[in-house]
């Protein structure tokens, strides 16, 4: 009887050691981050409120910034940003070339990007939106009905910003229209105001933000939010980092349950609370 007890005890001790040994054998993608004690986050170089921006006092914050900070904290490592990418496609490239561990940069997931990197579940779903020159619209007599159908036409020019997912989306949604690529936001806005192009195609959050900053533009540009055309944003990791991907998915699920996500969503997306910071 005594022997049996000792046997069981030893078995338990061995078992405990064994599990501990397994715990030491971490997945290499996570281990790499833990070893260097910091996680490198790829983020677009230009500030894009409300995802990443500086306050008037120079304080760096935003939805994506707080998400990155929270991820680093829960992983127990330091946080480092790599903001060398000047387009969203370049953000993806940073992950491919292993210059960063995870991309947190209001990144839209598209099939062409998914060939290069792995995307997590979406953490915010934006909608595709248009800013349309009202005069061109009125001249085409397409103000009310079948607006999106008529925008998909050979005579129509749609402006998008180079290196964004909207290059792909535009080809998808308006295959017959002429898609023009622009370097930056101000030049595409200038052209749509002057009537050189019919419309600008971008996400609803950015277009609402533009309207907030330039309220008089609503006289000349009509905002159309395509409720049925979604633009889900995801985090992206290298395709080899399968365990990091599943950790991040679990993380996104966890923050939805513990209230962190709600707080961020209320602060940055639902309200304009962040602007007072």
């Amino acid at each position: 009887m005594k022997e049996i007890l000792i046997l069981i005890q030893t078995a338990i001790i061995i078992l405990l050691f064994a599990t501990h040994a397994v715990a030491g054998n971490i997945a290499p993608d996570i281990e790499k981050i833990l070893k260097k004690r910091k996680i490198t986050v790829a983020m677009h170089c230009e500030d894009t409120p409300p995802f990443f921006m500086r306050s008037k006092r120079g304080f760096f914050y935003g939805f994506d910034v707080e998400l990155a900070q929270d991820i680093a904290r829960r992983m127990g490592v330091e946080l480092e940003f790599n903001r060398s990418a000047s387009s969203f496609d370049e953000v993806v490239e940073l992950i491919v070339r292993r210059k960063a561990d995870v991309a947190i940069s209001m990144l839209s997931r598209t099939l062409s990007r998914a060939k290069l990197v792995s995307f997590t579940d979406s953490y915010i779903v934006l909608h595709r939106a248009l800013l349309i020159n009202r005069i061109i619209l009125a001249k085409q007599k397409m103000e009310y009905e079948g607006l999106l159908r008529i925008l998909n036409n050979s005579g129509i020019k749609i402006g998008v910003i180079e290196g964004t997912s909207y290059v792909d989306f535009a080809k998808q949604d308006f295959p017959k229209a002429l898609i023009l690529l622009y370097k930056d936001w101000s030049s595409v806005i200038k052209d749509v105001l002057e009537g050189k192009i019919t419309a600008v195609f971008y996400d609803d959050l950015e277009i609402k933000e533009f309207n907030r900053k330039n309220p008089d533009s609503a006289l000349y540009l009509q905002t159309v939010i395509m409720k049925d055309k979604k633009d889900p944003l995801s985090l992206a990791v290298h395709w080899e980092d399968a365990h990091l991907l599943s950790w991040l998915n679990l993380y996104l699920q966890t923050i939805r349950e513990d209230g962190t996500y709600d707080r961020l969503f209320k602060k940055y997306i639902e309200s304009e609370q962040w602007q007072t910071e």
Binding site: R134, A138, E143, P215, D216, L219, Q222, T223
Partner: protein, 419 residues
């Protein structure tokens, strides 16, 4: 006992005096500007009053047109009369459209609008558009306007308040009854006459509630006005008012020339009509008092008033035409579209058609008819509808007054001159 009834009547008649009605309007303005909560609370009362008033309008319209046309045809001089009616309507509408156009072009409400005003307008447009993405109403073109005139089912047209269709049908019945010329058709006309008198009687009772009803209606309307957008579009509003006053003064002079008596008397005879129009912003609601004022006080031929007033509310809306003409010029100036001969003629013709079409559609829906002017000009009518809707509570009363008073003036022109 009889003495008691008379005293009661005297007390009640105080409610009909213009001073009391006017103080009702003033009280409404005060409540509307100072107490938003109270305004919202009295709003249903105002709506009920307006419904009560409008309940009798459609029957009055129908009976008035049928009986006046029927009797007109039995007298025999119908054709010259109809010719005069068409001429007065067309000339009046054209003059109104030209006045709107020229005042818009001269005073340039849409030129040099400064940035802060454009920001206010932009915000108003953005909010309206983002909140109502799916457009409920579709713009109409000329053909769909013509389509609306002919009802497929007259009872449905009556229940849905498609006034132009009802007018068209009433005209047909009136002509038919007039042409039958038998004793039974005469009896029918007499029955219709007494129905007409009965409805007017009901309206007479409802008028006792006018001061209170107007107070509730106006309080609600005023409280809905956004001050910022009013200030941003102040120049346009002033032009609307200036044109309206020019027209109102013009009409009063026409009426004075066509009826006997002093200028003051001709003004006072239609005071109630004007107050109802200003207070309710509903041309239809002011039909009964216009009929009473014209035939009882100004002694205009009853038959003419009975025909022209109900017809003219839909077919002779000077106020709406001026409204659309000025608004079209305003929008073209906002977008910097040059205004040449072609644009001028499009606007003149378009605003007349839009004015006619709008009178058949109740409420703000009528504003969307501006697409009849702006679409041919290649201008965005959506923006126009949103901006006009924002200032509508301020502009609608005076334009309704123009519609109604212009009709009264037209009536005196069509009727034989009083001797």
């Amino acid at each position: 006992m009889a003495d008691g009834v008379n005293t009661m009547k005297r007390y009640f008649n105080i409610l009909l005096s213009p001073c009391v009605v006017f103080s009702g309007i003033v009280a409404g303005i005060i409540i509307g500007t100072t107490n938003e909560e109270l305004s919202a609370r009295v709003a249903p009362v105002g709506d009920i009053y307006l419904s009560l008033l409008q309940a009798c309008i459609l029957p009055i319209m129908i009976t008035a047109i049928i009986s006046s046309l029927g009797r007109l045809l039995t007298t025999g001089y119908a054709f010259s009369y109809i010719g005069r009616l068409v001429f007065v309507f067309v000339a009046g509408l054209t003059l109104a459209g030209m006045l709107g156009l020229t005042s818009g072009l001269i005073s340039r409400p849409g030129k040099g609008v400064d940035r802060s005003d454009r920001i206010t307008m932009g915000k108003t447009i953005f909010e309206a558009e983002v909140n109502y993405e799916k457009e409920a109403h579709r713009p109409s073109d000329f053909l769909s306007f013509v389509k609306k005139i002919v009802p497929a089912n007259i009872f449905r047209a009556v229940t849905e308040g498609q006034n132009i269709a009802v007018l068209f049908f009433s005209i047909l019945i009136g002509i038919a009854l007039g042409l039958i010329r038998s004793s039974s058709s005469n009896t029918t006309l007499s029955v219709i006459d007494s129905l007409y008198d009965a409805f007017l009687k009901i309206i007479g009772w409802i008028m006792y509630g006018l001061p209170f009803g107007l107070m509730c209606l106006i309080a609600n309307q005023i409280s809905k006005v956004g001050i910022a957008i009013i200030l941003a579009m102040l120049k346009l509003i002033i032009i609307f008012y200036a044109c309206a006053f020019i027209l109102l003064i013009g009409y009063s002079i026409v009426i004075w020339f066509r009826v006997r008596g002093t200028y003051i008397r001709s003004l006072l005879s239609l005071k109630e009509t004007l107050l109802v129009a200003l207070g309710t912003s509903s041309s239809f609601a002011s039909i009964p008092s216009a009929l009473r004022g014209l035939s009882r006080e100004l002694k205009v031929e009853k038959q003419t008033a009975d025909l022209v007033i109900p017809l003219g509310i839909s077919l002779n809306p000077h106020g709406s035409v001026v409204h659309f003409a000025i608004a079209a010029v305003f929008i073209s100036q906002i977008y910097g579209i040059p205004f040449g001969l072609k644009e001028t003629s499009i606007t003149l013709f378009g605003s007349i058609i839009a004015g006619l079409a709008a009178s058949g559609v109740p409420g703000l829906g009528g504003l969307s008819m501006i697409s009849l002017v702006l679409d041919p000009l290649g201008l965005p009518s959506k923006v126009a509808v949103i901006l006009l809707a924002a200032i509508d509570p301020i502009v609608d009363p005076i334009l309704t007054a123009v519609n109604v008073y212009g009709n009264c003036a037209s009536t005196t022109l069509i009727a034989k001159k009083a001797v």
